[in-house]
């Protein structure tokens, strides 16, 4: 007789509409995991006494308490959350060769997806709004071309493969059901050369708005002449269609370059958000995560190198301030407008309310380093 775990596995392995319908929803998972309404997911690592690290995916609640974890093959980058069913995924860090998916009521790994032949993952992927498509950014490393690969879910059959309109598509977000916004970071890499940048002089990052129906480029903007080394890496989009962009500059440490910008479907160029020069210097030319709060009116951008998270008010694009958080990178919205959850490599989790200039630590997991990106699981949003 099949137990629950076997049943779930067989559902996914067989694929198909009926088996998908049989999977638990987030409401079921929340009821079994927490009394609260908020769950968060992030990759993390543990370091032993010999300084060797092992890598995990973890789910924690609004108090920062770890509720579930599972060991991973190696270091991962960003989590992905299914919109309907209680499934979280994690994408291997660049150059990545796996995406693992877990069903949270059973805690079991249900699926591992490999990249296409001669491709690797960039560390980020997303589901479409109905959850029957999985969209990932991949590097066709023999040509260096960026690819957007769309797979059916859960059988993971590749149903479309598009040019990303650039090199190094790192993260993408959905602006609407048919428009994917891609941060083409511009960095050409090859697994034979680890993470070395092979096109530093010629890199050409851009933000591309891509039609998921046809794969055609709807719109594209870049940083313009003189800023070709300003790699566009992470992004988020709010309900008003504003796309926030975080850059990582690959030029000189002393160059005065903008590090945060915004764009939209109609913008002819990227608008750079202001910040005090002393804060800009503290960023050390590097943005980590980019995230809007629940209202879409507050933008948060982390800089692990600077040990800070900076905030902007999207109503007037003004700089709000910054929180000092060592080794911080993960940023996620919470259920409360204006309030964000932050995670860092020191194992700390913070709640920040930049409008009230209030930040407090909710927990610290000793021996754990939260990895780059944090995602909130929100059942209300998906119900």
């Amino acid at each position: 007789m099949l137990d629950r775990r076997d049943f779930l596995k067989s559902c996914l392995l067989k694929g198909g509409a009926l088996s998908i319908a049989a999977l638990p929803t987030w409401q079921t998972a929340f009821a079994s995991m927490t009394q609260g309404s908020e769950l968060y997911v992030s990759a993390f690592s543990r370091q032993d006494k010999t300084l060797e690290r092992s890598y995990y995916l973890g789910v924690f609640d609004a108090q920062g308490k770890m509720l579930w974890e599972s060991k991973l093959l190696n270091r991962a980058h960003a989590p992905v959350v299914h919109p309907v069913h209680s499934i979280v995924g994690i994408i291997a860090r660049r150059p990545g060769y796996y995406m693992d998916f877990f069903e949270l009521t059973s805690g079991e790994r249900l699926k591992r997806i490999a990249p296409l032949k001669d491709h690797h993952f960039y560390g980020h992927a997303i589901f479409n709004k109905t959850g029957d498509r999985l969209i990932s950014q991949e590097n066709h490393y023999t040509s260096g071309k960026g690819r957007i690969v769309i797979r059916s879910w859960p059988d993971a059959e590749v149903i479309a493969e598009y040019d990303s309109n650039g090199i190094g598509p790192h993260e993408s977000v959905l602006m609407d059901e048919n428009t994917l916004v891609i941060a083409n970071g511009g960095l050409k890499t090859h697994p034979d050369h680890d993470r070395d940048i092979l096109n530093l002089e010629t890199m050409a990052p851009n933000v591309t708005y891509l039609s998921l129906d046809t794969g055609s480029v709807v719109h594209s903007v870049d940083n313009g002449k003189g800023k070709h080394q300003l790699s566009i890496r992470h992004l988020d989009v709010n309900a008003q269609g504003v796309v926030a962009l975080g850059f990582q500059y690959k030029g000189e440490k002393w160059d005065e370059v903008p590090l945060v910008g915004i764009s939209n479907l109609n913008s002819s160029s990227i608008e750079y958000l202001p910040m005090p020069e002393q804060i800009r210097l503290r960023f050390k030319q590097y943005c980590g995560s980019v995230c809007f709060d629940k209202s879409g009116q507050i933008l948060a951008v982390s800089s692990p190198r600077g040990g800070l998270v900076a905030y902007w008010n999207m109503q007037d694009h003004s700089f709000l301030g910054a929180d000092n958080c060592r080794d911080v990178c993960g940023v996620s919205q919470t259920d409360r407008p204006g309030v964000l959850m932050l995670t860092g490599g020191t194992g700390k989790q913070w709640i920040s309310d930049p409008i009230k200039s209030n930040i407090y630590q909710i927990n610290q997991h000793v021996g754990i380093s939260w990895d780059n990106h944090l995602e909130k699981i929100n059942p209300r949003r998906f119900s």
Binding site: S45, Q47, K49, L51, H77, R93, R94, G123, H170, R195, R233, E252, K253, W254, L281, R282, Y286, G288, P304, R305, G307, L308, D323, N324, C325, R326, D327, V328, C329, G344, G345, T346, I359, Y360, Q361, S369, W370, D371, N372
Partner: protein
């Protein structure tokens, strides 16, 4: 006495003296890192910036004299004082933290590697109107490429500048050297009036002491600088992993590339032994094997850099020869990084996960 023997003896003496005070060290360490940090400041940061400021002042005065009475002898004197000032800079170059970060003074002290020849271009432009540098507002907006040692080196050593024969060139040199001396003095003064922990950005509500976080910053700076020495100073110019880029070598015009690395590697061991208790002493008590392994590795770095021929960065050696000669030193610096990471992690420092390796 060979350099390595001398260093081993120094290390032995240090170990012996530190072992005697370990009982005291433990209690101090258990509370916070205040004493160690104060030792780092008083033993390394402050004297290094003081020496840098003093030699910067001497360099500036010598250039004043050169411009008043131009001669090859005066030029030679200025070059010697320039080398001294560079050497003093190398002793504290590992620290890109605190007052030196304000107004990008760290990069103004040394605009390197100047991959696009910005310093040269801007100096040529300034040469057309050197009097503009005498305006009070000039230094408020001047490029960091023409503020410090890189610009001074160009003016002293490049063939297209001649401060002995061309007053305009000397005018440039004099203005820059004076500004450089004032800046070194300013950084030194700011360190005199502050503690290391004053320069740390504290987390709201954090229970960690400012001193521990400041010590963590010091260690992070040290670790990052090890990468600079290995990658930017050694591997890149000689083409360790690809095409050689000899003009990316540090202070190659004045042939100070090797001396600079030598001083850097000496400064690491001095830093490890600064303070009472020093980081070494605390580590020795916590894990003698790791503490000594790091100490020995730091000594080995110095031995290996001294084994390189004096003309190592010149054209006399082929790329293959340079790479072969560099292998032991590259491996030793890498091992030093691993050991330092191990030592400080075991002491409870969190030296960065996302900040050191993101994507």
């Amino acid at each position: 006495m060979r350099f390595s023997q001398q260093k081993n003896m120094q290390s032995y003496i240090l170990k012996a003296s530190m072992t005697a005070s370990l009982v005291l060290s433990t209690s101090v360490y258990a509370q916070d890192w205040k004493s160690t940090l104060a030792g780092v400041k008083d033993g390394q940061i402050l004297p290094s910036y003081q020496a840098f400021s003093n030699s910067g002042e001497k360099l500036s005065k010598s250039i004043d004299a050169l411009c008043l009475s131009p001669s090859s002898t005066a030029l030679s004197t200025s070059k010697d004082l320039f080398a001294k000032n560079v050497d003093d800079w190398q002793k504290i170059q590992w620290l890109n933290f605190g007052p030196v970060t304000y107004f990008m003074r760290y990069y103004a002290f040394q605009y390197w590697p100047d991959k696009k020849g910005v310093t040269q271009r801007q100096l040529r432009s300034l040469k057309k109107d050197p009097d503009s540098m005498d305006q009070p507002k000039f230094w408020k907006s001047a490029s960091i490429a023409v503020r410090g040692l890189t610009a001074i080196e160009s003016l002293l050593y490049r063939k297209d500048f001649d401060p002995v024969a061309k007053p305009a060139d000397c005018h440039l040199l004099k203005s820059i050297a004076q500004h450089h001396a004032e800046t070194t003095q300013s950084v030194y003064t700011q360190w005199t009036n502050s503690t290391v922990s004053d320069w740390v950005y504290l987390e709201e509500g954090s229970s960690e002491s400012a001193e521990k976080l400041a010590m963590e910053q010091v260690i992070q700076q040290w670790l990052e600088h090890m990468s600079v020495v290995k990658d930017a100073k050694l591997e890149t110019p000689i083409g360790y992993k690809g095409k050689a880029k000899p003009k990316f070598a540090e202070f190659y015009r004045s042939s100070l590339s090797l001396d600079s690395m030598r001083t850097n590697l000496e400064s690491y061991q001095a830093l490890y032994h600064s303070g009472n208790p020093s980081l070494f002493a605390v580590a020795l008590e916590q894990n003698p094997e790791n503490a000594n392994a790091l100490d020995e590795q730091l000594i080995k770095n110095q031995e290996l850099v001294n084994d390189l021929p004096s003309q190592y960065f010149s054209k006399t050696l082929s790329q293959e020869q340079k790479v072969e000669l560099a292998r032991p030193l590259v491996a030793s610096i890498s091992q030093s990084q691993k050991l330092l990471t191990k030592v400080v992690t075991n002491l409870g420092f969190q030296i960065g996960f996302n900040s050191r390796d993101g994507d």
